[in-house]
């Protein structure tokens, strides 16, 4: 399968790989997917008192497109408000990465991860 340049770039130089303390009240963690399906994304955000995402980290088990999708959204989310972040749609992710139709589910998963992280943060407040 041929990968787009954007996917290869994120795959070879993933941005914001890492892990934050899940117990921290400022941190929201979203884990989506399942090992059986071949992809699991863990997306974490650190939110300031003003409701702005100060930092974002991810780790992803999955194909190159899944890794690239999660890497991309960590870049996008930094500096966004929670409302802005929750309006990120999978279509913009797949467009930015030029994902083929068979890989659209990777971008859907990334959107789900954003929502899950925000929900987790909100539930802690």
């Amino acid at each position: 399968m041929a990968y787009s340049e954007q996917v290869i770039d994120h795959y070879e130089n993933p941005r914001n790989v890492g892990k934050m303390d899940e117990a921290d009240a400022q941190v929201g963690t979203g884990m989506v997917g399942a090992p059986a399906c071949g992809d699991v994304m863990r997306l974490q955000i650190k939110v300031s008192d003003e409701g702005v995402i100060e930092d974002a980290k991810f780790k992803t088990y999955g194909c190159g497109s899944a890794i690239a999708s999660s890497s991309l959204v960590t870049e996008w989310m930094k500096g966004m408000t929670l409302d802005e972040a929750s309006s990120i749609r999978n279509a913009s992710i797949s467009e930015e990465l030029a994902l083929p139709p068979v890989k659209i589910h990777c971008s859907v998963l990334a959107e789900d991860a954003i929502k899950a992280a925000i929900d987790d943060y909100k539930s802690k407040q």
Binding site: M1, Y3, Y11, P14, V17, K19, M31, V32, G33, A34, P35, A36, C37, G38, D39, V40, M41, R42, K59, T60, Y61, G62, C63, G64, A66, I67, H105, V108, L109, D112, A116
Partner: protein, 404 residues
């Protein structure tokens, strides 16, 4: 551009240059281009002679009579001809067929077609090593069983079925035994005089012959009857019509003759390299060799790197030509049905890579592969939340995953 290093010999092999040379001599006007079925002139006689020499070469590798060899377009056609041919000829005797869950699709899809035609098929589950035992076959046999079809060597995990022992059981029960030997011919000694196998499928391109040619062994004593699946001219004693492709057949014969002469050396070479590869990665944590280590063809190493997804691993290994059991490399979203039939969990099936080593693989190539694999696995585990959880002592089976 530097070509990727080829470690996918179970998918196909390059044609041996010695074979290619002989094939080229059967194409042009100066060469042996005649139709082997032309009985009225020298062109036909010469082509027929070349075809019969090749038939003898194929028969010699498996200690069979040349008259037991039927040319086909490849192992897929051989499997179809054997299974449908037997089912359609013997259906009045019974309509039950036994095969296994880890067969090649050429057998499984043929079995499904026969189910649609009213046959009943039992699909045996292998043990966790990937082996089908004679006892499993014995237990599945019924009064109305007419055929057992099992592969000699599995294409994904390389495990070897004890077809000699299974042949004793099927013969005693007067049930026919078909064996797909596409992955075993030229790699494991096959003796048709000793083994009670009734039909056997072969392919040329897995052992340094050309694609598009194969053969079906059809036993003469006791005689096995088949209903032809291809009609039109009655070639191959009525079992498979169609003009014989002299150049392809000559190529297959030459490849089988070389295999007979060099099998021992080839096996020693590929076994040493397979062990070199396995030794080079097995000390990493959570790395598994899939399928029996002991009952295994020499050139195959199917390895799972837990917590790393197969397609992303392949992406890191772009300088290696290997194949993966991961769903993402195929059209379906299911991981390898072979690995799943071993009872393996989906994560391990998703993280598997098949390395297959052949005649032209070098120790330097294997060392390069080891270095690249180690680097990629370490990198991807750094990225893997599952690896984190494993390292934190979380039991992944206890986690409630959000299905999607």
């Amino acid at each position: 551009m530097k070509l990727p290093l080829y470690l996918d010999y179970s998918a196909t092999t390059p044609v041996d240059p010695r074979v290619a040379k002989l094939m080229c001599e059967c194409l042009t006007q100066e060469g042996n281009f005649g139709n082997p079925a032309s009985r009225s002139h020298l062109y036909g006689w010469q082509a027929e002679e070349a075809v019969e020499t090749a038939r003898r070469q194929v028969a010699d590798l498996i200690n069979a009579d040349p008259r037991e060899i039927v040319w086909t377009s490849g192992a897929t056609e051989s499997d179809n001809l054997a299974i449908k041919g037997v089912a359609h000829f013997y259906h009045k005797k019974g309509k039950h067929i036994i095969t296994s869950k880890i067969e090649h699709k050429a057998v499984l899809d043929t079995a499904r077609q026969l189910e649609r035609e009213g046959f009943e098929v039992t699909y045996l589950d292998p043990d966790s090593d990937g082996l089908i035992s004679p006892a499993m076959v014995q237990d599945a046999m019924r009064e109305d069983t007419i055929l057992v079809s099992l592969m000699h060597v599995n294409n994904e995990i390389g495990v070897v079925t004890d077809i000699a022992a299974i042949g004793e059981i099927t013969r005693a029960a007067k049930v026919l035994l078909h064996v797909d030997a596409a992955q075993s011919a030229g790699k494991i000694a096959i003796d048709m005089e000793a083994m009670k196998v009734d039909l056997m499928s072969f392919s040329a391109h897995k052992i340094y012959g050309p694609k598009g040619i194969g053969a079906l062994y059809v036993r003469r004593k006791p005689r096995v009857r088949l209903e032809a699946q291809m009609h039109g001219g009655g070639h191959e004693r009525g079992m498979r019509s169609g003009t014989l492709a002299t150049h392809q057949i000559v190529g297959m014969g030459a490849a089988f003759a070389i295999a007979k002469d060099e099998m021992e050396a080839d096996n020693a070479h590929t076994l040493a390299l397979r062990e070199r590869l396995w030794d080079g990665v097995k000390d990493m944590e959570e790395v598994y060799l899939n399928g029996s280590h002991e009952h295994r063809v020499s050139g195959n190493a199917n390895i799972s790197f837990n917590f790393v997804e197969g397609e992303s691993l392949l992406m890191s290994l772009r300088e290696l030509a290997v194949s993966s059991g991961s769903a993402c490399t195929s059209a379906s979203l299911e991981p390898s049905y072979v690995l799943r039939a071993l009872g393996m969990n989906d994560e391990l099936a998703h993280s598997s890579i098949r390395f297959s080593i052949g005649r032209f693989t070098t120790p330097e190539e294997v060392d390069q592969a080891i270095a690249q694999v180690r680097k990629a696995v370490i990198k991807l585990r750094e990225l893997s939340p599952l690896w984190d959880m494993y390292k934190d002592g979380v039991d992944l089976n206890s986690v409630q995953w959000a299905a999607h």
